[in-house]
Symmetry: C2
Subunit: 121 residues, 2 copies
DNA sequence: GGCACCTGCTAACTTTTCTTTGCATGTGCA
DNA sequence: TGCACATGCAAAGAAAAGTTAGCAGGTGCC
Protein backbone atom coordinates (compact mmCIF):
# COMPACT_ATOMS: atom_id res chain seq x y z
CA UNK A 1 0.00 0.00 0.00
CA UNK A 2 1.01 3.50 -0.53
CA UNK A 3 -0.27 5.34 2.44
CA UNK A 4 -2.80 4.12 4.94
CA UNK A 5 -4.35 7.57 5.11
CA UNK A 6 -5.63 8.90 1.81
CA UNK A 7 -3.88 12.04 0.71
CA UNK A 8 -5.60 15.07 -0.70
CA UNK A 9 -4.69 13.93 -4.16
CA UNK A 10 -6.22 10.54 -3.51
CA UNK A 11 -9.37 12.21 -2.37
CA UNK A 12 -9.57 14.31 -5.50
CA UNK A 13 -9.07 11.22 -7.58
CA UNK A 14 -11.78 9.29 -5.78
CA UNK A 15 -14.26 12.13 -5.92
CA UNK A 16 -13.59 12.74 -9.59
CA UNK A 17 -14.13 9.08 -10.24
CA UNK A 18 -17.38 8.89 -8.35
CA UNK A 19 -18.80 12.09 -9.76
CA UNK A 20 -20.03 10.32 -12.85
CA UNK A 21 -23.46 8.71 -13.13
CA UNK A 22 -22.20 5.77 -15.15
CA UNK A 23 -19.50 4.94 -12.69
CA UNK A 24 -21.87 5.36 -9.80
CA UNK A 25 -24.17 2.84 -11.41
CA UNK A 26 -21.28 0.48 -11.98
CA UNK A 27 -20.29 0.60 -8.34
CA UNK A 28 -23.87 0.06 -7.29
CA UNK A 29 -24.22 -2.89 -9.62
CA UNK A 30 -21.02 -4.49 -8.44
CA UNK A 31 -21.95 -3.90 -4.83
CA UNK A 32 -24.63 -6.51 -5.26
CA UNK A 33 -22.47 -9.14 -6.85
CA UNK A 34 -19.32 -9.27 -8.84
CA UNK A 35 -19.70 -9.45 -12.56
CA UNK A 36 -17.75 -9.65 -15.77
CA UNK A 37 -17.47 -6.90 -18.32
CA UNK A 38 -19.70 -8.04 -21.13
CA UNK A 39 -22.53 -9.05 -18.88
CA UNK A 40 -22.33 -5.89 -16.83
CA UNK A 41 -22.45 -3.86 -20.02
CA UNK A 42 -25.63 -5.61 -21.06
CA UNK A 43 -27.20 -5.13 -17.68
CA UNK A 44 -26.37 -1.46 -17.52
CA UNK A 45 -27.25 -1.07 -21.17
CA UNK A 46 -24.09 0.71 -22.22
CA UNK A 47 -21.46 -0.28 -24.74
CA UNK A 48 -18.70 -2.57 -23.67
CA UNK A 49 -16.07 -0.09 -24.80
CA UNK A 50 -17.57 2.62 -22.67
CA UNK A 51 -17.91 0.40 -19.66
CA UNK A 52 -14.32 -0.67 -20.00
CA UNK A 53 -13.11 2.90 -19.81
CA UNK A 54 -15.14 3.55 -16.70
CA UNK A 55 -14.00 0.36 -15.07
CA UNK A 56 -10.42 1.34 -15.64
CA UNK A 57 -10.96 4.64 -13.92
CA UNK A 58 -12.66 2.97 -11.02
CA UNK A 59 -9.82 0.52 -10.68
CA UNK A 60 -7.22 3.27 -10.97
CA UNK A 61 -8.93 5.03 -8.11
CA UNK A 62 -8.82 1.84 -6.10
CA UNK A 63 -12.56 1.47 -5.88
CA UNK A 64 -12.88 -1.83 -7.69
CA UNK A 65 -10.65 -4.79 -8.37
CA UNK A 66 -10.47 -6.97 -11.42
CA UNK A 67 -9.56 -10.57 -11.79
CA UNK A 68 -9.17 -12.50 -15.00
CA UNK A 69 -10.68 -15.93 -14.75
CA UNK A 70 -11.31 -18.83 -17.06
CA UNK A 71 -14.85 -20.10 -17.14
CA UNK A 72 -15.51 -23.83 -17.18
CA UNK A 73 -15.75 -23.84 -20.93
CA UNK A 74 -12.37 -22.14 -21.17
CA UNK A 75 -13.39 -18.60 -21.97
CA UNK A 76 -11.45 -15.76 -20.47
CA UNK A 77 -13.63 -13.50 -18.40
CA UNK A 78 -12.68 -10.48 -16.43
CA UNK A 79 -14.52 -10.20 -13.19
CA UNK A 80 -14.82 -7.00 -11.27
CA UNK A 81 -15.81 -6.50 -7.69
CA UNK A 82 -16.06 -3.46 -5.44
CA UNK A 83 -13.48 -2.82 -2.79
CA UNK A 84 -14.69 -1.79 0.60
CA UNK A 85 -14.27 1.93 1.04
CA UNK A 86 -15.66 4.70 3.17
CA UNK A 87 -15.05 8.35 2.53
CA UNK A 88 -16.34 11.02 4.84
CA UNK A 89 -16.75 14.52 3.54
CA UNK A 90 -17.16 17.41 5.91
CA UNK A 91 -15.56 20.84 5.82
CA UNK A 92 -13.17 19.69 8.51
CA UNK A 93 -12.16 16.59 6.61
CA UNK A 94 -11.42 18.79 3.65
CA UNK A 95 -9.24 21.06 5.72
CA UNK A 96 -7.19 18.01 6.59
CA UNK A 97 -7.07 16.65 3.08
CA UNK A 98 -5.97 19.94 1.58
CA UNK A 99 -2.81 19.81 3.65
CA UNK A 100 -1.61 16.89 1.58
CA UNK A 101 -2.59 18.30 -1.76
CA UNK A 102 0.02 18.59 -4.45
CA UNK A 103 0.74 22.29 -5.01
CA UNK A 104 -0.94 23.72 -8.08
CA UNK A 105 0.89 23.33 -11.35
CA UNK A 106 2.61 20.09 -10.43
CA UNK A 107 1.64 16.63 -11.53
CA UNK A 108 -0.01 14.75 -8.65
CA UNK A 109 1.83 11.46 -9.17
CA UNK A 110 0.46 8.79 -11.44
CA UNK A 111 -1.15 5.89 -9.62
CA UNK A 112 -2.10 4.16 -12.83
CA UNK A 113 0.49 1.38 -12.87
CA UNK A 114 1.49 0.83 -9.35
CA UNK A 115 1.87 -2.71 -8.20
CA UNK A 116 3.85 -2.13 -5.06
CA UNK A 117 7.13 -0.34 -5.42
CA UNK A 118 9.36 -0.22 -2.42
CA UNK A 119 11.90 2.49 -2.76
CA UNK A 120 14.92 2.39 -0.46
CA UNK A 121 15.26 6.15 -0.32
CA UNK B 1 -35.34 23.14 0.93
CA UNK B 2 -35.81 20.75 -1.83
CA UNK B 3 -35.40 17.39 -0.31
CA UNK B 4 -33.98 16.58 3.07
CA UNK B 5 -32.28 13.53 1.66
CA UNK B 6 -29.85 14.23 -1.17
CA UNK B 7 -30.77 12.55 -4.41
CA UNK B 8 -28.35 10.71 -6.61
CA UNK B 9 -28.13 13.75 -8.82
CA UNK B 10 -27.31 15.94 -5.85
CA UNK B 11 -24.58 13.57 -4.90
CA UNK B 12 -23.09 13.67 -8.37
CA UNK B 13 -23.19 17.43 -8.30
CA UNK B 14 -21.50 17.63 -4.92
CA UNK B 15 -18.80 15.14 -5.83
CA UNK B 16 -18.12 16.85 -9.13
CA UNK B 17 -17.80 20.13 -7.29
CA UNK B 18 -15.44 18.81 -4.67
CA UNK B 19 -13.27 16.87 -7.08
CA UNK B 20 -11.27 19.96 -7.92
CA UNK B 21 -8.16 21.04 -6.03
CA UNK B 22 -8.97 24.73 -6.24
CA UNK B 23 -12.42 24.26 -4.88
CA UNK B 24 -11.17 21.98 -2.17
CA UNK B 25 -8.76 24.68 -1.11
CA UNK B 26 -11.52 27.24 -1.15
CA UNK B 27 -13.67 25.15 1.14
CA UNK B 28 -10.75 24.57 3.45
CA UNK B 29 -9.95 28.27 3.56
CA UNK B 30 -13.51 29.24 4.28
CA UNK B 31 -13.81 26.56 6.93
CA UNK B 32 -11.47 28.61 9.04
CA UNK B 33 -13.23 31.90 8.64
CA UNK B 34 -15.51 33.54 6.17
CA UNK B 35 -13.91 35.77 3.64
CA UNK B 36 -14.66 38.03 0.72
CA UNK B 37 -13.74 37.30 -2.85
CA UNK B 38 -10.84 39.61 -3.52
CA UNK B 39 -9.08 38.80 -0.32
CA UNK B 40 -9.60 35.10 -0.69
CA UNK B 41 -8.19 35.29 -4.19
CA UNK B 42 -5.06 36.95 -2.87
CA UNK B 43 -4.67 34.42 -0.11
CA UNK B 44 -5.10 31.45 -2.41
CA UNK B 45 -3.00 33.16 -5.03
CA UNK B 46 -5.39 32.68 -7.91
CA UNK B 47 -7.10 35.21 -10.10
CA UNK B 48 -10.31 36.75 -8.91
CA UNK B 49 -12.13 35.73 -12.06
CA UNK B 50 -11.12 32.14 -11.56
CA UNK B 51 -12.07 32.16 -7.93
CA UNK B 52 -15.42 33.62 -8.77
CA UNK B 53 -16.23 30.79 -11.12
CA UNK B 54 -15.30 28.21 -8.53
CA UNK B 55 -17.28 29.96 -5.83
CA UNK B 56 -20.32 29.92 -8.03
CA UNK B 57 -20.02 26.21 -8.50
CA UNK B 58 -19.61 25.68 -4.80
CA UNK B 59 -22.66 27.77 -4.10
CA UNK B 60 -24.68 26.03 -6.79
CA UNK B 61 -23.86 22.74 -5.12
CA UNK B 62 -25.01 24.16 -1.82
CA UNK B 63 -21.63 23.90 -0.16
CA UNK B 64 -21.07 27.58 0.53
CA UNK B 65 -23.27 30.61 0.99
CA UNK B 66 -22.64 34.17 -0.08
CA UNK B 67 -23.78 37.40 1.43
CA UNK B 68 -23.26 40.86 0.02
CA UNK B 69 -22.32 43.31 2.70
CA UNK B 70 -21.25 46.92 2.87
CA UNK B 71 -18.07 47.60 4.74
CA UNK B 72 -17.84 50.59 7.06
CA UNK B 73 -16.35 52.70 4.34
CA UNK B 74 -19.22 51.86 2.03
CA UNK B 75 -17.61 49.31 -0.21
CA UNK B 76 -19.65 46.37 -1.40
CA UNK B 77 -18.04 43.11 -0.41
CA UNK B 78 -19.27 39.63 -1.02
CA UNK B 79 -18.63 37.34 1.86
CA UNK B 80 -18.63 33.60 1.53
CA UNK B 81 -18.88 31.01 4.23
CA UNK B 82 -19.05 27.24 4.21
CA UNK B 83 -22.28 25.47 4.92
CA UNK B 84 -22.21 22.53 7.24
CA UNK B 85 -22.33 19.32 5.26
CA UNK B 86 -21.43 15.70 5.68
CA UNK B 87 -21.37 13.20 2.89
CA UNK B 88 -20.67 9.58 3.49
CA UNK B 89 -19.44 7.44 0.66
CA UNK B 90 -19.54 3.69 0.87
CA UNK B 91 -20.60 1.17 -1.74
CA UNK B 92 -23.87 0.78 0.11
CA UNK B 93 -24.52 4.53 0.15
CA UNK B 94 -23.96 4.54 -3.56
CA UNK B 95 -26.45 1.75 -4.08
CA UNK B 96 -29.00 3.94 -2.38
CA UNK B 97 -28.07 7.09 -4.24
CA UNK B 98 -28.22 5.43 -7.61
CA UNK B 99 -31.89 4.69 -7.08
CA UNK B 100 -32.63 8.40 -7.34
CA UNK B 101 -30.42 9.08 -10.31
CA UNK B 102 -31.90 10.70 -13.35
CA UNK B 103 -31.97 8.11 -16.16
CA UNK B 104 -29.19 8.54 -18.68
CA UNK B 105 -29.80 10.95 -21.51
CA UNK B 106 -32.07 13.26 -19.57
CA UNK B 107 -31.17 16.58 -18.02
CA UNK B 108 -30.85 16.22 -14.25
CA UNK B 109 -32.78 19.39 -13.37
CA UNK B 110 -31.03 22.69 -13.02
CA UNK B 111 -30.50 23.78 -9.45
CA UNK B 112 -28.70 26.93 -10.43
CA UNK B 113 -31.41 29.49 -9.67
CA UNK B 114 -33.52 28.00 -7.02
CA UNK B 115 -34.54 30.22 -4.18
CA UNK B 116 -37.33 28.18 -2.71
CA UNK B 117 -40.14 27.14 -4.97
CA UNK B 118 -43.16 25.64 -3.37
CA UNK B 119 -45.16 23.75 -5.93
CA UNK B 120 -48.73 22.80 -5.05
CA UNK B 121 -48.57 19.62 -7.06
C1' DG C 1 -15.77 -22.86 -41.75
C1' DG C 2 -19.02 -19.85 -39.53
C1' DC C 3 -21.24 -18.20 -35.46
C1' DA C 4 -21.51 -16.82 -30.65
C1' DC C 5 -19.28 -15.70 -26.89
C1' DC C 6 -15.14 -13.45 -24.26
C1' DT C 7 -11.15 -9.75 -23.95
C1' DG C 8 -8.25 -5.54 -25.46
C1' DC C 9 -6.88 -1.51 -27.88
C1' DT C 10 -6.88 3.11 -30.24
C1' DA C 11 -7.87 6.79 -33.35
C1' DA C 12 -11.19 10.35 -33.86
C1' DC C 13 -14.89 12.96 -32.54
C1' DT C 14 -17.97 15.46 -29.24
C1' DT C 15 -18.81 17.58 -25.02
C1' DT C 16 -17.62 19.57 -20.79
C1' DT C 17 -14.63 21.92 -17.78
C1' DC C 18 -11.10 25.08 -16.75
C1' DT C 19 -8.68 29.43 -17.22
C1' DT C 20 -7.45 33.89 -19.00
C1' DT C 21 -8.32 38.38 -20.78
C1' DG C 22 -10.78 42.40 -20.94
C1' DC C 23 -14.19 45.57 -19.85
C1' DA C 24 -18.14 47.16 -17.18
C1' DT C 25 -19.89 48.99 -12.62
C1' DG C 26 -19.37 51.16 -7.93
C1' DT C 27 -17.10 53.24 -3.48
C1' DG C 28 -13.60 56.37 -0.77
C1' DC C 29 -9.80 59.38 -0.66
C1' DA C 30 -5.62 62.58 -1.77
C1' DT D 1 -9.24 63.79 -11.62
C1' DG D 2 -6.69 59.69 -10.72
C1' DC D 3 -5.68 55.78 -7.90
C1' DA D 4 -6.88 51.83 -5.01
C1' DC D 5 -10.08 48.53 -3.98
C1' DA D 6 -14.56 46.18 -4.38
C1' DT D 7 -17.99 43.46 -7.65
C1' DG D 8 -19.77 41.23 -12.19
C1' DC D 9 -19.84 39.23 -16.58
C1' DA D 10 -18.79 37.12 -21.18
C1' DA D 11 -16.05 35.84 -25.05
C1' DA D 12 -12.46 32.87 -26.41
C1' DG D 13 -8.94 29.69 -26.08
C1' DA D 14 -6.81 25.47 -23.87
C1' DA D 15 -7.24 21.21 -21.58
C1' DA D 16 -9.61 17.22 -19.97
C1' DA D 17 -13.27 13.94 -20.10
C1' DG D 18 -16.60 11.23 -22.36
C1' DT D 19 -18.13 8.37 -26.26
C1' DT D 20 -18.24 5.83 -30.54
C1' DA D 21 -16.59 2.92 -34.14
C1' DG D 22 -13.60 -0.39 -35.72
C1' DC D 23 -10.05 -3.38 -35.43
C1' DA D 24 -7.29 -7.14 -33.15
C1' DG D 25 -6.96 -11.53 -30.45
C1' DG D 26 -8.93 -15.94 -28.14
C1' DT D 27 -12.33 -20.17 -26.95
C1' DG D 28 -16.18 -23.56 -27.81
C1' DC D 29 -19.59 -25.60 -30.65
C1' DC D 30 -22.70 -27.02 -34.78
Amino acid sequence: MNSPVPTGDDLVRVLATLSNPHRLRVVAALAGRRNYVSRLARELDISRALLQVHLKKLEAAGLVTSRLELSEDGKAMKFYEVNAFAVRLTPQDIVTAVQTLTPAGQAPADHTNETDEKGAT
